[in-house]
Amino acid sequence: MAHLNVSNVTLSFGGLKALSRVDMKIEAGLITSIIGPNGAGKTSMLNCISGFYHPTQGDIDYKGKKLTHASPHQVSNMGISRAFQNLELFSGLSVLDNLLLARHQNLKYSFLHAVFFYGKASRIEAENRAFVEGVIDFMELEPYRKSLVGNLSYGVQKKVEVARALTLAPDILLLDEPMAGMNQEEKEDIVRFVMDIQKEKGITVVLVEHDLGVVMDISDRIYVLDFGEVIGSGTPEEVAQNPKVIEAYIGED
């Protein structure tokens, strides 16, 4: 039983087809990677799932519920959170506040509680803070807790981006090139985090990544996109043998 089911999704902008007839099954508890050359439609696929784009045709189901026309906040409330490729952090806030913000829908207290800040709101905020500290711990962001996100280095900002998506306590985590533009050491860090997220937290991970070495090493399933079409899928071994994939990546001889 697939966790997240993408069936026959087509996304077109005018005459341009960013995605055509894409089928994907993202299974619970696995790391599924989406790879492909530049402009293949990987990020478009993530945008479709997370509600930023709505497919022209086809359906996206999650646990029997349709996500096809849901808006991003509805999708994230269903338990699918994402990290952006180009940093989309709240740059004027501290790391802590960024993460606290992501807990928005998980905090249940009323407006009046908030205005008077007695009992419930105060207690829930303290619990919330404890939860966020857990994520900070997990992502090893302790030194940066109080610093402004805008002042941090790129690598750390990427980590905050992943941490923020994690703070939503999702079932599925969509990571859009979390390793782009990082050095070897930082990459290894992120890989470790991604694997921990899957193993320790039991979160399903969907990874869009360019670094083939990383993808082949950590993925359980791989989908290869090229010009908006799925040209190959399966375990890393299967994909590595697939002649179409080899052609798309290396070219014909």
Partner: protein, 364 residues
């Protein structure tokens, strides 16, 4: 751990609850309490003339209005150039009660706190309606939408006989436990009333910022795409921001109606809207204390300019009306200077002062 609770020499928190406190050191809290006591006590010892008391009442009303504007423009990042119209909505809520029931009806005179809250709620309702374009519009385009609300408001008031076509609608004197508040004590009484309102709203504002209802505003300002992905409904949040601003403005409007004992449309024109925006900018957008600095600074400046131009005016031919020229001139100059040299407003000076003195007596 025997932490020194008076000076912030380090971080001694052991629970997250402790970090929620509004005042981090006892010194902060005592200074603030002392300041409040002074605010309450000074009129008893230094009675001012009605004219100056009115200026001070006016300033406090502006503080309430600017707090609202700061929420929508400073925190939620939605420029509103129709804020005076929201203030007007509050004032005209009181006025319409006066028109229908008579200006000395018991609801107006005895239940004025209820009237103030009601005006706030009506303001919030209108705020939510005016906030609807924010679902689609952004930045400058949204500003134009709020401007159109300002225009619609002025036209409606000017052309409806119910609102006396913008001419003054009088509001009766209120009663306190001691009886009717007379002419002599009027501004004095309202000083305290408004001060209490400012303090209550100020604390409400402060608390809101510590919770999800405040954070979602900042999220929408900084990056509404990411906010959306983080489970915050950006459209709803924007409408909510306008409703909050409308509430503050409505309360300010009701207070204005009571203090002036009348409502006329010229207090709620575009000019006033720009004034509120200027106060918010000079005070510091996106800060709570900026909502206090801004109005105080601008109103005080206005007063001083009046004095100055009166003094200079004695040596000039009587045909030259210096006051009318000087006020807009200094007003404009101050805004330009602030935008150029201190775009984060007076609140930034406050922040710098605090961070310098934080570790006293140690240097770092």
């Amino acid at each position: 751990m025997s932490a020194n609770t008076w000076l912030a020499t380090g971080n001694f928190y052991t629970t997250y609850k402790q970090e929620q406190k509004t005042f981090f050191t006892s010194l902060d809290r005592s200074v603030f309490t002392f300041f409040l006591i002074i605010l309450f006590a000074w009129p008893l010892f230094f009675p001012l003339s009605n004219k100056f008391m009115l200026v001070i009442d006016n300033t406090l009303i502006a503080v309430v209005a600017v707090m609202g504007l700061n929420l929508v423009t400073g925190f939620a990042g939605l420029i509103s150039i129709g804020h005076a119209a929201f203030v007007g909505i509050g004032a005209y809520t009181v006025a319409s009660f006066c028109r229908t029931m008579g200006d000395t009806h018991i609801i107006i005179t005895h239940f004025w706190p209820l009237m103030i809250i009601l005006s706030g709620l009506v303001g919030a309702g209108f705020g939510a309606i005016v906030g609807l374009p924010a679902l689609r519009l952004k930045h400058l385009y949204l500003a134009i939408a709020t401007l159109s609300f300002q225009m619609i408001f002025q036209w409606v008031i000017n052309f409806m006989t119910f609102f006396n076509q913008g001419q003054t609608i009088s509001v009766g004197r209120v009663f306190w436990f001691t009886g009717k508040v007379g002419r002599k004590d009027h501004y004095f009484f309202w000083y305290y009333a408004i001060l209490v309102v400012v303090i209550l709203l100020g604390f409400g504002f402060r608390n809101l910022l510590k919770t999800r209802y405040g954070r979602c505003l900042i999220a929408v300002r900084d990056n509404d795409r990411a906010a959306d992905a983080m489970g915050i409904n950006p459209g709803l949040t924007k409408v909510y921001a306008f409703a909050l601003a409308g509430f503050f403005a409505g309360v300010a409007g009701a207070l204005h109606a009571y203090v002036y004992r009348g409502v006329g449309f010229e207090s709620f024109t575009l000019h006033e809207s720009i004034g509120y925006l200027a106060m918010a900018i000079v005070g510091g957008l996106g800060t709570l204390n900026g909502s206090f600095w801004g109005p105080v600074f601008i109103k005080f400046l206005d007063l001083q300019m009046e004095h100055l131009s009166e003094a200079i005016g004695q040596y000039l031919p009587s045909g030259m009306n210096l006051t009318t020229a000087m006020k807009p001139f200094t007003f404009g100059l101050v805004i330009v200077l602030f935008l150029m040299y201190e775009s984060r407003g007076i609140a930034n000076w406050w922040r710098i002062t605090k961070s310098y003195t934080k570790l006293w007596p140690f240097r770092y």
